[in-house]
Structures are given as structure tokens and as C-alpha cells.
């Protein structure tokens, strides 16, 4: 077996067998799923709780048609006098009392809303709208318009966003879905490159402080040792990533079911997203909910392609950065000394991360987005952020090509520093020193 594969195996298995790896790998999806479930649970609860129950005391003789309840407001009519209800407000099953006096419908005055807590502005407007609508309907009926004609007056409007794909083919798209995927991918990419890059650095420092490095280097070339470590840890990263995806999907499905129950989740998906205020009676019940829309466009996002691109850019970006981390690790004697070298390496990554999640998500086809996704320092993040919005094939290919050249460059550069650095002890390394190492003959 070749030496480099021996090193890769050791680096891989020594990490994958670690308790911390196993715990992290299995716990993270559980935590993600837990929060995911929690969000579902609370948003569901929120909808349930925000259901305002209003008791209407109607003394008006003209407006006899009851106010229409919906999922946000539930009107019930009571024959009890206002004074009695006021006393019961905390104990009885309602939140507010709407008092409609016998006013002149051309000049409604004296309408009151009582509650143990102050009614919010939106509720206030909502109730006013409802009463207004009722008055308007009444007036329209008076002028001879039938209920059927009234129902026909309002036509609810929803907009389907369609992206024109190659050859003008229509694809369902959702700005929301793309943005969510872009964010998740960007954050994950940043996290992965940082996390595993630092692991490479730690590994190098460990070998150096353990002094095993001399034994190793008398058996293998420094380059083999460095690449073995980098590749081994890359495989650890891929393993973790794959497990996370599989586990997160599995657990999330179970968790949502547990937290909310299947029927309720379904119900919530349908009702939870209708915007308040335009739910007029008789509205088209089969209105397409946005959640459904997001799901639909997710299906069209070519998840496979995005995943593939993600894995490629993870590997490319990781190789690009981790070799720099390996060089840093080789130059220092302990982790505390790494600070001054970490900054310059982290800056471009942080810069790319910040810009990708702000500028690129706002304008995924702009100049900034284009250049960020070309420069290998930022392209791993910028490109995966752009992917969900669609990237022309030639740009993707060009970016990949540049990244490959980029990491070949950094690996070469790092290897030259590494081979000298790992044998240097007790010397406080500086950038000038490292440049000098770079020019050493092996």
C-alpha cells in the first residue's frame, strides 16, 4: 500500500473513531431537528394563540348580518348585557368585547372594543375593516345588488413567480426558497472550511509538539505527510456532511411528526400563511399556500446539482485554505502562536462570507457576485450562494477551473513552507521567516 494512503487512513480513522466526532455527527442533526421542530411547534402555537375571540354585543337594529369569523378572529354573539360581560371578561372564554350601539349607519359612532389587555393596532384596524365591510355590504344590498353579485366583486390575487430557464422553459421558482438554500449553503460552506481547515492546522501542530514529526519524516516525504493529512481530514468532512444530510432529513421528518402531529402540520401548512385581512367570506378555499409553493420550487431546484456543486466547492475551498492552515501549523510551536497568522488567512474567507450573504443574495447576477465567485479566495462560498438562483454553465466551469488552479497553487506554496517549518523548534516564526523558508532548498 502506498504511504500516502496509509497516512490518509490513519488521519481518517483516528478522527472518525473519536468520541467527539461521533457525538457531533449524531447530535448536530438532532439539535437541528429539535430547533426545526421547535420553530414549527411555536409557529403553530402562535397561530392558535393569535386567534382573537371577540364577543359582540349588538344593539344595532340595522346591522343584523353577523360578522364573519375566520382563523384570526372569532366573533360570537351574546345576548347578555354589556355590563355583565365586562365583569366576566377574565373568566369567560373570550378576549374582547365589541360593542355595537344602535348608530346611524351613515355616521357610525360609539363603537367600542373592550379587553383586559389593550387591543393592538392591527386588531383594531381589522375589526374596523370588518364593521366597515359589513356596512358597505348592507348599503350595496340596499341599492339592489344581490349577494351573488357581491361575492363576484372580489377576486383574490396570488402571483406565481416563474423563472425562464434555458430555451425559455418555464420553471417554478421561489425567491424565498432560493434565498433559504443560498443562506444554508453559504453558512455551511463557511463553517466547513473553517472547521476542517483548523483541524488540519491542529493536526500539524500536534505532530510537531509530539515530536513524532521527525520519525514520520524519516519514513515519508513532508509533502506526502501534509497531503495525507489534508485528504484524510477532507474525507472526514465529507463523511460528516453526508451523515448530517441523511440524519437531518430522517430526524426532521420524525420530529415534525412528533411535535405537531401529522394532521395539524398539514392544517398549519394550509392555514398558517394566509395573510390576514383579505380572507373575505366565500374566498377561494383552494388557494395555493406559499409553503406548498416553496416545496414545489425546491423540487425544481435540481437539489442533486446543487449538492454536487457544493461538494466540489467544499473540496476545492477546503484544499485551498487547509493547505494554508497546514503551513501556519508547521510554522508555530503551539496553538496560541497561530493568532497573527490566522487573521490574514481568515479575512478573505470572512469577507467572502459577509458579501455573499448580503450583496450576492440581493443581486445574484451582478458584478460583485460574478467576481466573488471567480476569485478562489471567495468563490467556494459565493458560488454555492449563487447556485440556487441559477448560474450559467460557463461561469460555473470557469470558477471551478480557477479554484483547481488556486488550490494547486496554495498546496505548492504551503508545501514549501511546511517542509521547513515542521523541523523548526523554538524559533518564533514571522512572515519574513516563512518567505525565507519558501526559498530554501530542500
Amino acid at each position: 500500500m502506498s504511504k500516502i494512503s496509509l497516512i490518509i487512513r490513519r488521519e481518517y480513522f483516528s478522527r472518525v473513531r473519536k468520541k467527539s466526532f461521533i457525538i457531533m455527527t449524531f447530535l448536530t442533526p438532532v439539535i437541528i431537528a429539535f430547533f426545526y421542530g421547535l420553530i414549527f411547534y411555536f409557529s403553530y402555537k402562535e397561530i392558535k394563540d393569535s386567534h382573537d375571540r371577540i364577543v359582540v354585543v349588538n344593539e344595532n337594529t340595522t346591522l343584523t348580518e353577523p360578522l364573519a369569523s375566520d382563523k384570526n378572529i372569532q366573533y360570537t354573539y351574546s345576548q347578555e348585557p354589556l355590563a355583565t360581560l365586562k365583569k366576566k371578561i377574565d373568566k369567560a372564554g373570550f378576549d374582547y368585547i365589541l360593542y355595537l350601539p344602535d348608530f346611524d349607519i351613515s355616521a357610525p359612532r360609539g363603537i367600542q372594543l373592550f379587553g383586559s389587555k389593550q387591543a393592538g393596532l392591527s386588531l383594531n384596524n381589522r375589526v374596523a375593516d370588518d364593521v366597515e365591510a359589513q356596512i358597505r355590504n348592507y348599503k350595496l344590498r340596499q341599492s339592489g345588488i344581490t349577494q351573488q353579485q357581491l361575492d363576484k366583486l372580489s377576486s383574490p390575487v396570488t402571483i406565481d413567480t416563474k423563472k425562464l430557464g434555458d430555451a425559455g422553459k418555464e420553471e417554478d421558482s421561489s425567491a424565498g426558497a432560493s434565498t433559504i438554500i443560498a443562506f444554508v449553503a453559504g453558512v455551511l460552506m463557511f463553517m466547513f472550511i473553517m472547521l476542517y481547515g483548523v483541524q488540519v492546522m491542529r493536526g500539524v501542530i500536534e505532530e510537531k509538539t509530539n515530536r513524532i514529526i521527525e520519525v514520520m519524516i524519516s519514513s515519508v516525504k513532508p509533502f506526502q505527510l501534509m497531503m495525507g493529512k489534508i485528504i484524510g481530514i477532507a474525507l472526514v468532512g465529507l463523511t460528516q456532511f453526508m451523515l448530517w444530510i441523511v440524519l437531518t432529513m430522517a430526524i426532521s421528518t420524525v420530529a415534525v411528526g412528533l411535535f405537531v402531529g401529522k394532521d395539524e402540520a398539514k392544517k398549519m401548512a394550509q392555514t398558517g400563511v394566509n395573510t390576514p385581512g383579505n380572507a373575505l367570506p366565500g374566498q377561494d378555499a383552494a388557494q395555493k399556500s406559499p409553503v406548498e409553493g416553496i416545496q414545489k420550487s425546491l423540487a425544481h431546484l435540481e437539489v442533486g446539482k446543487i449538492l454536487g456543486v457544493f461538494v466540489f466547492f467544499f473540496l476545492g475551498g477546503y484544499l485551498f485554505y487547509s493547505s494554508l492552515y497546514a503551513a501556519i501549523g508547521s510554522a508555530v510551536d503551539s496553538e496560541t502562536e497561530t493568532q497573527q497568522f490566522m487573521m490574514p488567512v481568515m479575512m478573505p474567507l470572512l469577507f467572502g462570507y459577509a458579501l455573499s450573504l448580503s450583496v450576492v443574495t440581493n443581486d445574484p447576477y451582478g458584478q460583485v457576485a460574478f467576481w466573488l465567485s471567480m476569485v478562489p479566495f471567495t468563490s467556494p462560498i459565493a458560488m454555492v450562494v449563487r447556485m440556487p438562483y441559477g448560474v450559467p454553465a460557463w461561469e460555473l466551469a470557469l470558477s471551478m477551473g480557477i479554484l483547481v488552479l488556486g488550490f494547486i497553487g496554495t498546496v505548492w506554496f504551503a508545501a514549501r513552507i511546511y517542509r521547513v517549518g515542521i523541523l523548526m523548534y523554538g524559533k518564533k516564526a514571522s512572515f519574513r521567516e516563512m518567505i525565507r523558508w519558501f526559498t530554501y532548498r530542500a
Partner: protein
């Protein structure tokens, strides 16, 4: 076996090795001696192919050193190191596979060595759970497991307790008898002089002295002897035969250091003394490597 020819290694600030040449004979134990910072480690790193010389070359069995020789050399660095979190058996297995052994053969040999060195239950232990002396044993096994023809030990006995040092010493001698060539590198000369056949002294990046231990000792012998006796001895009688350098009277016996005159032998000394005093012992005073080294270094320092 190993021929080091005109090696020069230049670092930015100083020259670590300045035209160093030496020969290591097959089957011998070779001592590479010198104070800290003399350049021993730099030389070893070149022999183990960790670094390359700026000029000069190293031949192993007549061949210029290359990567195919890695399996022929075993190296125990001064700074001992192992992966702390790795199990011992696995660790030695890993290191010996990197030297070219296959898993089955390496496993068999590890078992053999574990038995031999009283480490039978160590396979699953982690390095961090071992004492320093125990770690040294593990490292020694890792160094010789692939049966290298040349074993280089940097400060071989530092860190061993006397019992384990003896154990390792015996293993070294046994391997040596089977034909393994050893290079010891150390600044503590007394620790290896009894084991070494040949030595080289490195001082300030230069080789200042080399040859067989016997030859060097002979060269530094000064015809001095230590005599211990009881009775009165008139030093005037010694004229022409030996010169008294120093006497140290004690209750039981007097010890005196003498230098035998040119042309005379220890027998002449004894013949004279036997007539006057009761002689208990007469020993040649042999300079230790350390003394030779110090004297030599003082001399070269004065010259430069």
C-alpha cells in the same frame, strides 16, 4: 556500510556542518559524539533523509542515499514522540507499515517484541497512559521493528531508568551481534563509550577526531599508573624509573599516581616497589572519552 563524504549544511545564520566526512563499518557500533549544538542532529537528519546537504554526499552500501533506503534505516530521534491518542499496537503497526512492512508480518514482529520486552498487554493502551520510560520502550520497538541494517539512536539512554536502560542495552548488543550497525549520537560520552567500537567527535560543525575507541585511547595514554600500597616509600629511589605525580595517603593504603619514565615498563616499577612496600594494586590510568574530548576541544579552541 555508511560513508559520509564532505557534507556541508548551511543555515541562514550559521554553518551546521562544515566538510564532515566519516565512515561507519558494517556491524559496528559507532559513536557520534560532541557537545550540544555541534551539528550531530543536522548530520543525522541528512543520513535519515529528513534534510538534504548543501554539498557532499552520503553513500549507503556504496549507493547514493535515496528513498529506497528508508526501510534500511531505523531512527530514534532525541525528542521522542508518538501520537498520544493512538493505541500502542496500532501506532507501531502504522510506523512499520510506513517503513514498508505488511500488516501480517508487522503484527507478528510486534507480538514478538512485546513478549521479549515485557509489554504483552500493551497493545490496546494509549501512549498518554504510559510513563516516559514505557514510551521509550515503545519507541525503541518501533525503531527496530522493520529490521533495519542501520539503526541511528539519538541520545539512546536518556529518559530510561537504569533497569530499562540495561534491558535496551542488551537488546542493542544482541541486534549488533546479529549484524545490525548502530550509530549512537550523544553528548554524554560516558553513557556509550563502553559500547562503541568507533567514534567520531564533532565540534563546532567540524569533525575533530575519529577512529576506533582503542586507537584513540592509546593515543591519549600518558603512561600514568595508579599504585596503591602500604609501608614507607622513599620517592628518591624512583629516580630514573618513574616520576610521582601525586600521593594520597590514607589509613589503610597510600595511593600514588605515577608517570613511568621513557623506556621503562610497569614491570620495572613493580620490581622496585616490591622490595620496599606491600603493593595492593597497580592500574593503568586510562583517559575517559570525556577527558579526551575536553582536552581535544581545548586544544582546537586554542588553535583557532
Amino acid at each position: 556500510m555508511l560513508s559520509v563524504q564532505n557534507i556541508v549544511k548551511q543555515y541562514v545564520a550559521h554553518r551546521a556542518l562544515d566538510d564532515v566526512s566519516l565512515e561507519v563499518q558494517k556491524g559496528k557500533i559507532f559513536g557520534l559524539l560532541g557537545p550540544n549544538g555541534a551539528g550531530k542532529t543536522s548530520l543525522i537528519r541528512i543520513i535519515t533523509q529528513i534534510t538534504a546537504p548543501d554539498s557532499g554526499q552520503v553513500l549507503l552500501k556504496g549507493e547514493r542515499l535515496n528513498t529506497s533506503h528508508i526501510g534500511n534505516i531505523g531512527y530514534l530521534p532525541e525528542e521522542r514522540g508518538l501520537y498520544k491518542k493512538m493505541q500502542i499496537g496500532e501506532q507501531i503497526l502504522y510506523l512499520s507499515k510506513l517503513k514498508g512492512l505488511n500488516t501480517a508480518e508487522a503484527t507478528r514482529r510486534i507480538r514478538f517484541w512485546f513478549e521479549k520486552l515485557d509489554m504483552v498487554n500493551w497493545w490496546d493502551k494509549k501512549v498518554e497512559d504510559l510513563s516516559k520510560g514505557m514510551q521509550q520502550k515503545v519507541q525503541f520497538v518501533a525503531t527496530v521493528l522493520h529490521s533495519p541494517e542501520l539503526v541511528i539512536l539519538d541520545e539512546p539512554f536518556s529518559g530510561f531508568d537504569p533497569v530499562n536502560a540495561d534491558l535496551i542495552k542488551n537488546e542493542i548488543l544482541e541486534l549488533n551481534e546479529q549484524g545490525t550497525t548502530f550509530i549512537f549520537s550523544t553528548h554524554r560520552m560516558e553513557s556509550v563509550e563502553e559500547l562503541c567500537d568507533d567514534i567520531a567527535l564533532i565540534h563546532r560543525s567540524k569533525k575533530v577526531l575519529d577512529g576506533s575507541v582503542e586507537a584513540i585511547r592509546d593515543r591519549y595514554k600518558s603512561n600514568t599508573y595508579a599504585v596503591s600500597y602500604s609501608g614507607a616509600f622513599d620517592q628518591a629511589l624512583a629516580s630514573g624509573i618513574f616520576e610521582v605525580l601525586q600521593t594520597e595517603p590514607a589509613r589503610s593504603a597510600t595511593t600514588m599516581n605515577i608517570k613511568i619514565s621513557e623506556g621503562r615498563t610497569a614491570n620495572d616499577v613493580l620490581a622496585l616497589l616490591l622490595n620496599h612496600v606491600q603493593v595492593y594494586s597497580l592500574n593503568e590510568v586510562v583517559p575517559s572519552m570525556n577527558e579526551i574530548f575536553i582536552e581535544h576541544v581545548r586544544k582546537t579552541d586554542q588553535e583557532s
